[in-house]
Symmetry: C2
Subunit: 373 residues, 2 copies
């Protein structure tokens, strides 16, 4: 165990089947798992203040290396005391490596074993990312958890996934080698698309590198629910039980539940805040698009069982009015509700595992009785 793993010990407090409730200790505080991390792509969880995030009970927040490298630049953030100070989030932070954003956002990608040359989605300027560069940027940013630089591939292309996996594995080793800071935990990322053999191979290789935590990448990118479940089972059968498992980019209550059942501990997703900016409220196993005229005179809150600030104080009719009148407050109030919904859902899952009644929780969710909060 090296210095960084000592700072990042993970204790499993209770488990039921493969589901577990744990605590991940970080230099900026404990993360109670399962945990959902709101996403602050550009060092801001869109439309909410850190004070509001804190009231929502968020612990871990994710930011994006690709975006922050391009704007405002990791040097500036480092000069201003690092990402925690810059964005005023003094709880745990995680940065992803930029691998997924280079795949999804950048233009004119050109990938070699060395790294990726791409054009900025902002101004078209040319940039070069390597595993070493990604880690150097993440060390400047200073999040508690940093990620290896990986190559994402379209989920159904076997040849592509096979090639990408080779690179992802070599890059994981290079990331480890280039790591300098001891106060950051680096998680390795398992890839392999929807292919059992590739996922198994990747999980074996990545877990052999002795990372303090492991991530599962390349899911929730177009594959079916059954494929996601199957990949999680294959990967988590290989990944060591005593280290935290992070399923990247997943954010519906159903997906979270299915992943916790299969031993996942950490999640992040833009879904709650993105839906909010698209006028959509998350409700138990469903969504409400509040633009709909049916809500024009609806005096009820989004969800009458919800305890969030929005549901305690505002009607659907008011929220619809804000949307129609193009008032930015709608994005804030819907983000608060959607984040609360996911954070509470995960908190309730966690409590049910601690109370040895997770099976009941799962059953009531499936039967539609569970509130989803």
């Amino acid at each position: 165990m090296n210095a960084s793993t000592a700072l990042f010990s993970f204790n499993i407090q209770a488990s039921q089947g493969d589901a577990r409730a744990g605590v991940l200790h970080t230099p900026h505080g404990d993360i109670l798992t399962p945990v959902f991390a709101p996403v602050g792509t550009q060092a801001s969880v869109k439309a909410v203040t850190p004070a509001q995030l804190n009231e929502l009970g968020a612990s871990l927040v994710l930011a994006n290396t690709y975006h922050l490298y391009l704007r405002p630049g990791e040097e500036l953030i480092a000069e201003l005391g690092g990402l925690h100070d810059f964005m005023n989030w003094h709880h745990p932070l995680l940065t992803d490596s930029g691998g997924y954003q280079v795949y999804s956002q950048a233009a004119n990608r050109s990938i070699s074993d060395e790294g990726v040359i791409f054009r900025s989605h902002i101004d078209g300027s040319t940039h070069h990312f390597t595993p070493e560069k990604s880690i150097a940027i993440q060390e400047k940013l200073g999040a508690d958890i940093i990620m290896t630089f990986d190559e994402c591939a379209p989920p159904y292309d076997y040849e592509y996934n096979q090639r990408a996996l080779m690179r992802t594995h070599k890059w994981a080793e290079r990331c480890l080698k280039s790591k300098k800071r001891s106060d950051q935990a680096m998680f390795g990322i398992v890839q392999g698309g929807v292919f059992s053999d590739l996922r198994r191979k990747s999980a074996k290789f990545i877990s052999s590198l002795d990372f303090p935590g492991h991530a599962i990448g390349g899911l929730s990118v177009g594959e079916t629910k059954d494929e996601m479940k199957s990949m999680l089972e294959i990967v988590n059968a290989v990944l060591p039980e005593d280290k935290p498992r992070y399923l990247m980019g997943v954010g519906t209550p159903e997906d979270l539940l299915n992943a916790v059942i299969r031993g996942v501990d950490i999640f992040d997703c833009v879904l709650p805040t993105r839906l909010a900016r698209h006028n959509t409220a998350m409700v138990p196993k469903d969504k409400l698009n509040l633009t709909n005229a049916v809500f024009a005179k609806d005096s009820r809150p989004i969800d009458n069982t919800c305890t969030c600030y929005t549901c305690q104080h505002f009607s659907r009719a008011y929220l619809r009015h804000l949307i129609v009148a193009k008032e930015m407050l709608s994005a804030t109030l819907l983000s608060i509700h959607n984040l609360h919904t996911l954070l509470e859902f995960v908190k309730e899952m966690r409590q049910s595992i601690l109370d040895a009644r997770f099976n009941d929780f799962v059953e009531s969710f499936i039967l539609g009785k569970h509130s989803g909060k």
Copy 2:
């Protein structure tokens, strides 16, 4: 004294020269004067939640009859329990009459003694406002303070102002006659452009109608500072001292100070939130446009003497990053700062009047020593 004035008693606690510190009692709580009212045009103070407004110490909030009549409609707001419940502001509310908005926002205005026919700025539909209709709408909305329907005129057109004043006075009488609710205070509005005789005449006529409070309209619309001061002196020499005086649409620290010196108690303005959405922070006797590259690496808060949430937690560099990255959080954080700046400025003026040191306050502001907060 009728039922509505009883609910709205105004007590002057201290005065220095013409400046006074008072308390205006309303059914939704006391307003400590001088007071600055943030503007929630469409039943939302843009980019801030009522909880944030509350933390800022706001008491009175203004909303717009013209906008709320067009969208979502006063009937809907009444069905949902009135404006306080609708927008979740359980402190005092004031609605203006729509007179100014018909003048500034609507298209194809056609004004007669009966009222105004205009086209909606939203969808071009035709509408008819009369004094009676404005009051009926304001009674549906249910604010604590409502305003008479007036005709605004370009400040330098004597003939126009003379004609408009005749209508404004007749309309004020019609507003009074049509008023039904006893739990709302109706303020009469003095007009008259930059013309001493018209202002004096208007102040005399409006104060003869025994409103529980008086407003001064048609200033801060293009006239000079000296003209504004002069009109305030003329009008306030006539308006009774024992009733609150409201200068509509004024929102710079300098204008507020000049008006308090001349006996004004109440102010409203979109300036702090509008500047915020235009990336501009209010600082003592100045403004900072945070888009400017000079702030890119500036680790200081907007104002290092400011105690607002934004200045306590965020650097100019971070705020500029949010602006450049088009993150909506910038509007929220700048609105919080700008509203705090004005609310604290007015609070300090009030305290200096209570402490019989208002002259020192004025002097130190003029000499630039005062922080403006």
